[in-house]
């Protein structure tokens, strides 16, 4: 599932949300879609509930498109998209947007780079103008100073979110263990310090010319606007941006998402500045929206969603081996990663903990979930979906996610149907096929010796 943005609502505690099923929930997000002559996709979602607009621009480029020796480049480039043009010099993009009460953020995954702006309903022209300006002109105006400034920021981002965060280094190492070197998902999105240092201005210009093309972009405008006026503005601002052609998606021609490349158990242990050890297990699983993907989402909920889930009940509640459990199906365009994370209690043998996890996984493979378990998981998935769509920013992100992944912004109902039709039998089959014990990564994080108490 796509990343959630962090919201600058100071003080709102993070809540774990799960909501009930709507047997007849209407989850569709109304929209209209068109394509500009230069190939740019335009999706409008009108909603006058609050005096706000959201602009979301998604580019079909992520870390899997990176060249050898340039890991982390797609994300670094995302930062460079804010570094200015002639019309909006360095710092002006943010300064003008915030002066109008707007805000923005962006994220990069293996598959995509997504930018969004949130503003008052009166600021839409400005938001569109700023997005069009950088798509039109930013690349050729790149300089060493701009590149160096964001290179420092990104290297500090890597230090802060991965290196200096407990268990943060897992995300740097796990992709390398899970995928072979020739697979586009082999390296972490944030990249290595070495490759970030190696990036040049010429790299940025070439990357922009290839991937930041209107034919490779999808624009969503959502919220409180007048559609005809907005269409005129979009045509004027974006319509005349020349396309150099839609870039070729190299995909992963030598790999199948339904056939893991792992031929055994890949084991590794890493030391970290942590108090409690953790066991992480990971499998290669079917890509987003492929058969099995929704079942794996439901399995993750049955395993670790709430206190009544299987892993929580067995490991935390009954056997008292674990401090916390987590499971997720992290769905991607080329393939997905199913992951189980279990933090050990102090003094617990990791071998014993691993055996206890394996017992629960075997149970999911060897027998169907109960009807009540499946109903719970479905209810939790379905209503979290309904709740997410209450936010205008999330609706804009969903429209672009569906456009990018399945070429249909209106896929919400079909997406949910995948979960609704899953059965205990289909789930067991998927568990048997993919959550196999002998083709997975088992990574242990253990406290550093010198800091271990």
């Amino acid at each position: 599932m796509a990343i959630r943005s962090s919201i600058f609502a100071l003080g709102c505690g993070a809540g774990v949300l799960a909501y009930a099923a709507l047997a007849s929930a209407d989850v569709n997000i109304p929209f209209s879609r068109s394509t500009l002559p230069n190939g740019m996709t335009v999706i409008l979602h009108e909603d006058h509930a609050i005096p706000m607009v959201v602009v979301n621009v998604s580019y079909n480029v992520g870390s899997r498109f990176e060249k050898a020796g340039r890991t982390g480049f797609a994300h670094l480039f995302e930062h460079l998209m804010f570094m200015g043009t002639r019309r909006a010099p360095t710092k002006a993009f943010d300064a003008w947007m915030e002066a109008s009460g707007g805000s923005n953020n962006a994220w990069t995954s293996q598959d995509r780079t997504d930018y969004y702006d949130v503003g008052a309903n009166t600021s839409l022209d400005l938001l569109l103008w700023l997005e069009a300006d950088r798509l039109r002109d930013l690349g050729p105006l790149m300089t060493h100073d701009k590149l160096n400034a964001q290179r420092d920021v990104v290297r500090n981002e890597r230090r802060q979110t991965s290196e200096n965060t407990p268990y943060g280094k897992v995300e740097l190492r796990l992709p390398e263990l899970l995928y072979p070197a020739s697979h586009p998902y082999h390296h972490p999105v944030v990249g290595s310090h070495e490759d970030l240092e190696a990036a040049t201005v010429d790299d940025t210009k070439a990357f922009f010319a290839t991937y930041y093309d209107p034919a490779n972009a999808s624009l969503v405008v959502a919220g409180d606007f007048e559609p005809n006026a907005v269409k005129d503005k979009i045509n004027r601002y974006f319509g005349a941006i020349p396309s150099r052609g839609k870039p070729i998606d190299p995909g992963a021609p030598n790999f199948l998402d339904t056939k893991t490349t792992l031929t055994g158990v890949v084991r590794e242990a890493m030391e970290d500045n942590v108090e409690l050890p953790k066991i992480i297990m990971a499998w290669q699983t079917p890509r987003h929206f492929a058969p099995g993907d929704a079942e794996l989402d439901l399995i993750s909920v049955a395993l670790a969603g709430g206190k009544a889930s299987r892993l929580y009940k067995a490991l935390v509640y009954d056997q008292k081996l674990a401090q916390s459990v987590d499971a997720s199906q992290d769905s991607g365009t080329l393939g997905s990663r199913f992951e189980v994370d279990v933090m050990a209690r102090p003094g617990v043998s990791l071998d014993a903990l691993e055996a206890a996890i394996d017992k629960e996984l075997a149970a999911v493979r060897n027998a169907p979930l109960s009807g009540a378990e499946l109903e719970r998981a479905k209810n939790m998935v379905e209503t979290s979906f309904v709740m997410r769509a209450e936010s205008l920013r999330e609706r804009a992100a969903l429209l672009n996610m569906y456009e990018a992944e399945v070429g249909d912004p209106g896929y919400a109902e079909k997406d949910l149907t995948r979960y609704r039709v899953a059965t205990t039998t289909s789930i067991q089959k998927v568990a048997e096929a993919y959550l196999v014990p002998n083709a997975r990564v088992i990574l242990r994080v253990v406290p550093k010796k010198e800091s271990g108490k």
Partner: protein, 519 residues
């Protein structure tokens, strides 16, 4: 996706979140008479169609001006008191069939018994570990089955139980909420497990540098004996002292209807709600003869005044050998949530460290490249507040970064806001408020916080007007009075051996060492 990287973290990492998450009172503006943001600059005449290739006519034209958006005044919930003394705040919203409710009691970690810090938190944790006829797992299973979400927790000034549900499942879910609030089992078997998990969580906290910075800053700013001087989740030492009998006593004294507010937002009318509460909370009655809960301890109020200006700034380091970054926190005391200046200070902060273009973030991140982001914030609590700035910086630049942060803060305190900042902060505060009231659950949490810190239901509406009307002179005077940190505290979590010489080089000679809980 899991591996995705964000441009910037809009949230202040973890700093202070554990301690004060729901007590933060972010005010925002709205109301008539706003001035427009800075006029659109005329783009350069040679703006190009193809970068580098001049063209006669720029298809983008000049930068669009932004008309002033209509004023936004937050909605005010209907409020009334039920016969058992519990206040009800209801904000009807019928767009989606969703209801979110919070039972808030005015007793948070500020009322933890001495030596039992973390008690309010532990009590809230125990409420859903068995209640009424259900055991701990039954509660979780039944709530999940309904697709609802039930959460319990505590903050500095209040504790809460939160329920969000689809309307069609609200009644059975609310009956469980009612049991959790009024009939917790407090089983010794469950307590043993909850207590073990709690102690492990506190142990794990020591390896999170942001959490450590937060815990230490809070302790140093308020002092260990102050109601607010300890983390909401307690310390390793205090947690070891808390027993189930303490939890039961805290519950009995504090979780009482006359100390409670039931905040409800969503697709429900007042008559539907009253009937629901009759069923969900039938036996929750006040006991006027017993000690009344929720009374705030006034011992500390004498200390509300800002620290004596002659006090020197205290600098402490929590050693974290081999860390690639230093987490720097700069903090001081501030005004309470009920202070008329609080909403204005939230706007003042927008210019210093509350937005991407704020001075701290622009300087430490965009100009110097020391950090992924620098922020500041005010935390407004019932008795008094706190101002804190934070940045995680590359270890090699710890000294320079601290010097820059202190310089930015002092400069802002002395010179106040620019015209652009005066306008920008008004616009940003308005936008934050619009978003804060967008969803049912976010709205319920915000109103729960307002109730929890003892403010009236119309607090945001009033604050928006106050803040809206504040002038540059008003805001600059407040910056001068409440941003100065010459007598505040500095906490640095990082490798002491590498940091100390850098601090000496910027003239900081006296450096204290403390442990990860500030001891």
């Amino acid at each position: 996706m899991k591996g995705a990287s964000m441009r910037w973290s809009r949230r202040i990492t973890n700093f202070l979140i554990r301690a004060t998450a729901a007590t933060v009172f972010v005010s925002a503006c709205g109301g008539p008479g706003a001035e427009p943001p800075p006029k659109a600059a005329v783009p350069p005449a040679d703006a190009s169609t193809e970068a580098g290739a001049p063209a006669a006519i720029d298809p983008l034209g000049s930068r669009p001006e932004v008309p002033m958006p209509a004023p936004y005044t937050p909605p005010v919930p209907v409020s009334y008191t039920r016969s058992n003394g519990m206040k009800v705040w209801l904000l009807e919203r019928h767009a989606l069939p969703i209801v979110s409710m919070q039972i808030v009691v005015a007793a948070g970690s500020g009322l933890d018994f001495a030596g039992k810090e973390g008690l309010a938190y532990a009590t809230a944790n125990m409420l859903d570990e068995g209640a009424g006829k259900r055991g701990a797992l039954d509660i979780a299973r039944d709530i999940d089955q309904l697709g609802a979400a039930l959460t319990t927790g505590a903050f500095v000034d209040y504790s809460f139980v939160e329920l969000t549900s689809l309307k069609k499942n609200l009644e059975p879910a609310a009956l469980i909420l009612g049991d959790v609030v009024t009939k917790p089992t407090f089983s010794l078997v469950e307590w043993k497990r909850v207590h073990d998990l709690w102690e492990n969580e506190l142990r794990a906290r020591q390896s999170n540098p942001h959490a450590v910075a937060s815990v230490v800053a809070q302790r140093l700013v308020f002092g260990p004996s102050h109601s607010y001087g300890h983390p909401t989740s307690g310390t390793k030492k205090s947690a070891a002292n808390v027993g189930l009998s303490d939890v039961m006593r805290f519950y009995k004294e504090m979780w009482r209807p006359e100390a409670a507010t039931c905040v409800v937002v969503g697709d429900i009318t007042q008559s539907e709600l009253d009937s629901l509460l009759d069923k969900a909370l039938p036996a929750w009655t006040s006991h006027p003869n017993e000690k009344s809960g929720g009374k705030r301890d006034k011992r500390d109020v004498q200390n509300v005044a800002p620290p004596n200006a002659s006090d020197r700034r205290r600098v402490v380091v929590v050693d974290r050998p081999d860390a690639p970054q230093s987490v720097i926190g700069v903090a001081r005391r501030s005004v309470s949530a009920s202070d008329a200046n609080a909403p204005l200070l939230a706007r003042v902060n927008g210019a210093l460290g509350g937005s991407f273009t704020s001075r701290l973030n622009q300087d430490l991140r965009e100009s110097r490249g020391y950090s992924y982001g620098a922020r500041s914030r005010f935390l407004f609590m019932a008795l008094q507040g706190m101002f804190a700035a934070e940045a995680a910086v590359q270890v090699e630049h710890t000294g320079d970064a601290l010097k820059a942060m202190l310089g930015d803060i002092e400069d802002f305190a002395h010179s106040g806001l620019t015209n652009e900042e005066e306008s920008k902060t008004r616009m940003l505060a308005r936008a934050e408020l619009v978003e804060a009231y967008e969803t049912v659950e976010a709205t319920a949490r915000r109103l729960g916080r307002i109730a929890g810190v003892g403010l009236p239901p119309e607090a945001d509406a009033l604050a928006s007007k106050l803040m809206y009307n504040a002038t540059k002179q008003d805001l600059s005077a407040l910056a001068n009075q409440y941003i100065d940190v010459t007598s505040g505290i500095v906490v640095i979590v990082g490798p002491r051996a590498k940091i100390e010489p850098q601090l000496k080089a910027i003239g900081i000679a006296s450096i204290d060492s403390v442990g990860p809980e500030g001891e």
